[in-house]
Amino acid sequence: MDFAFTPEHEELRQTVRRFLQDRSDEATVRRLMVTDDGFDRGTWKQLAEQLGLTALIVPEEFGGSGLGPVELAITLEEMGRFLFCAPYLSTAALAVTVLREAANDAAKQELLPAIAKGERIVALALAEAPGLWEPSDVRMKAREVGGRWTLTGEKTAVIDGQTADDFLVVARSSQGLSLFRVRAEADGLQREPLPTLDLTRKLARVRFRKTPAEPIAAAPDVQPQLERAFLLGLVALAAEQAGGAQQCLDLSTQHAKTRWQFGRPIGSFQAIKHRCADMLVAVEFAKSAAYHAAFRAQEGDEAELPVAARMAKAYCSDAFFQVANDTIQVHGGMGFTWEHPAHLYFKRAKSSALLFGDSVHHRDRLATLIGV
């Protein structure tokens, strides 16, 4: 079955949506986005304790719910709709995925239960400048002297890097690509919060200077595992983008029905009606792309995952941007104001399109995969 959503899935969606309606309304987003931390610890605690969402994809043996990419996609789609300000993508999605795929049991034992309980924020430090998004691109080197490992170099676009308790750092050892855990308070670690284009997602640049690091990889070379984790990250982000695009479409349609000019609703002009219809097609395609990738990942369809994940990230990036751009246009002058939420989605759209590599990058990889 291609899209085997179950009643439980629908229930999950409704639960997340109700929670976010209450805890991530526009006023809350605007309040949190200008704080340094960028999220509310009380809400995070509730998300963990009452909804168990931080444990969503943590395996049961480590205190989690043991669910997978489909449930994660549903959750992130709703979070994208509400521009939920919290370290969910970084910690509950990316860090857990990387730990599941590529870490040894000791590290899993130490970090996963803490993440599941909402007690630790863990950030993935993977990307490097300029434009090195993929695990295979990583240049940072790890050094070992007498059994002690240290890291030197710089990671960029580290999501929630300024509030993280731990970093999962991808770096090269003589044996291949490896994974390290670095505590936030480690020597020689310096984090610089970045003034982000998208205020609703906090990013940091993290510098390491002979910083002590704990090797936690499950094997001497975990490049294949990290690549799989990266693909799963693309799927998660694509789902979030699809949710943001859906919200933009809803805002635009609502406005087109209620704004009158020339003695009629602007939605009665074909220029606006057709624009909304095109947005609908883009949103439906975006959801298909994200759900398809999530289901293939859930089924463990290893042949299809790389194709579906890159297709999803490439398509959802462009679609969300186009729809957010159109949302400003449909709202006219109002859509250009700070007061209206359109700009929040527009900035989220551009920034998430660039994050983890833009659509040109993923189409290039996809072209090779499909034999173009």
Binding site: A127, A129, P130, G131, W133, T156, A157, L194, P195, T196, L197, D198, L199, L203, T258, R259, W260, Q261, F262, G263, R264, P265, I266, F269, A271, I272, N325, I328, Q329, G332, G333, G335, F336, T337, W338, E339, H343, F346, K347, K350, S351, L354, L355, D358, V360, H361, D364, A367
Partner: protein
């Protein structure tokens, strides 16, 4: 055919050189220099002598601009000095104003001593600006104005406002409007900032409460306001659709410079090939925008532009948005950062000297290009109906008194 008097390019250049010799732009202040430029008839060359012009063909203005740029550091950009006053207000005043008003206002408009703003749009009337609701009621020699304007760029610094108000609600919408010059310092004018996508407040809400305007500040006749407003709007669209005046200049130049300065290996060869193609397409379109504007200027006969101005306005808006989007893609992970931050404030030019910062700012600011001065949808309607002569859509607001037009909600 031309009502303009002939003048050779060389003679005009000589006049500019004389101005620069008498008032070296690098030595005198802006008001002095631009005042002298006005007095020499080099402000709007097609205006009559004594009003900042020489009564010659407007396309010769480009010669003045070119000569003004030579061998000096100080070059003023009219659109930065007083964009609404110089580009839109002055031609409207020239066409419809009394002699007294022209003499009182044109010079300070050109020097930038008095900034102008445009009080057209209202919360209920944007694209359908002719549907506006601000009321002006005659009281002896004055008009008393009540209403609210919105998106008013520069209202917070303006001395004069180009105001359209309804003087008769009982006739069809286009027939009941009148056009005024409003002294923004008049009692009852209240200006409040409106913040935009960048956190800056370029524009404002303007509340008008029992504001008195002497009748002599009306441009055109009572009920003729729409016709006067069209003059302003067409000048605006021409100003917003000219592209760059220099080959390869403007936004595309910034994009190409950022591309040239990108770190090696940011893009894989295959990615770089895609971006190169995109940039080259944008270069072609930028050049064609510039050349089309040049052609339009050549063909322009009378002083005020016609609906063809919407070609450039539409093309430029859509093109500039794409150029800045492409620049963000070239910047890659650098574009995730927005250094100026979003503190709510009045705009400042200072932080835009750096090309990368300028590009990031413009990526956001250019979203308004397809909205301000008439949206791209409205431009397409104008091109379809007024230029190509295609039939209009069925109208529900034609031929009925303004007060009876359905308003929804």
């Amino acid at each position: 055919m031309s009502q303009y008097r002939p003048m050779t390019e060389e003679e005009l250049r000589e006049r500019v050189r004389r101005l620069k010799a008498e008032y070296p732009p690098d030595k005198v202040d802006m008001y002095t220099f631009r005042g002298a430029q006005y007095d020499h008839g080099l402000a709007w060359v097609h205006f009559p002598e004594g009003y900042g012009g020489l009564g010659i063909n407007p396309k010769l203005q480009a010669i003045v601009a070119d000569e003004l740029r030579r061998d000096v550091h100080t070059v003023y950009d009219d659109l930065a000095v007083n964009p609404i006053g110089i580009g839109m207000g002055a031609p409207t005043l020239m066409t419809y104003g009394s002699d007294e008003l022209k003499r009182a206002l044109l010079r300070k408009c050109f020097t930038g001593e008095e900034i102008w703003c445009q009080l057209f749009s209202e919360p209920g009337a944007g694209s359908d600006v002719a549907g506006l609701a601000t009321r002006a009621v005659r009281d002896g020699d004055d008009w008393i104005v009540n209403g609210q304007k919105v998106w008013t760029t520069l209202a917070h610094v303006a001395k004069w406002g180009l105001l359209v108000a309804r003087t008769n609600p009982d006739v069809p919408k286009h027939e009941g409007l009148s056009y005024f010059l409003l002294d923004m310092q008049s009692p009852g004018v209240e200006v409040r900032p409106l913040y935009q996508i960048t956190g800056e407040a370029e524009f404002n809400e303007v509340f008008l409460n029992d504001v008195r305007i002497p009748h002599r500040y009306m441009l055109g006749k009572e009920g003729q306001g729409w016709q006067v407003a069209i003059t302003t709007l067409m000048n605006e669209r021409t100003a917003l659709g000219g592209g760059s005046t220099q080959k390869g200049g403007g936004p595309i130049q910034v994009l190409m410079q950022i591309w040239a300065a990108r770190p090696p290996k940011r893009h894989k060869p295959a990615e770089a090939a895609v971006l190169r193609d995109r940039i080259t397409r944008l270069y072609i379109e930028s050049e064609l925008l510039r050349l089309t504007a040049l052609r339009a200027r050549e063909m322009m006969r009378a002083g005020n532009p016609g609906p063809e101005g919407s070609v450039g306005k539409l093309a430029q808006a859509e093109l500039y948005k794409k150029i800045w989007e492409c620049t963000m893609d070239v910047l890659g992970e650098e574009a995730l950062v927005y250094e100026p931050g979003y503190a709510l404030r009045r705009p400042s030019q200072e932080e835009r000297r750096d090309k990368v910062l300028l590009a990031k700012y413009q990526f956001l600011r250019s979203r308004a290009n397809s909205i301000e001065g008439g949206t791209s949808e409205i431009m397409r309607n104008i091109l379809g109906e007024r230029v190509l002569g295609l039939p209009g859509e069925p109208r529900t607001d034609k031929g009925i008194p303004w007060k009876d037009i359905p308003r929804g909600g």
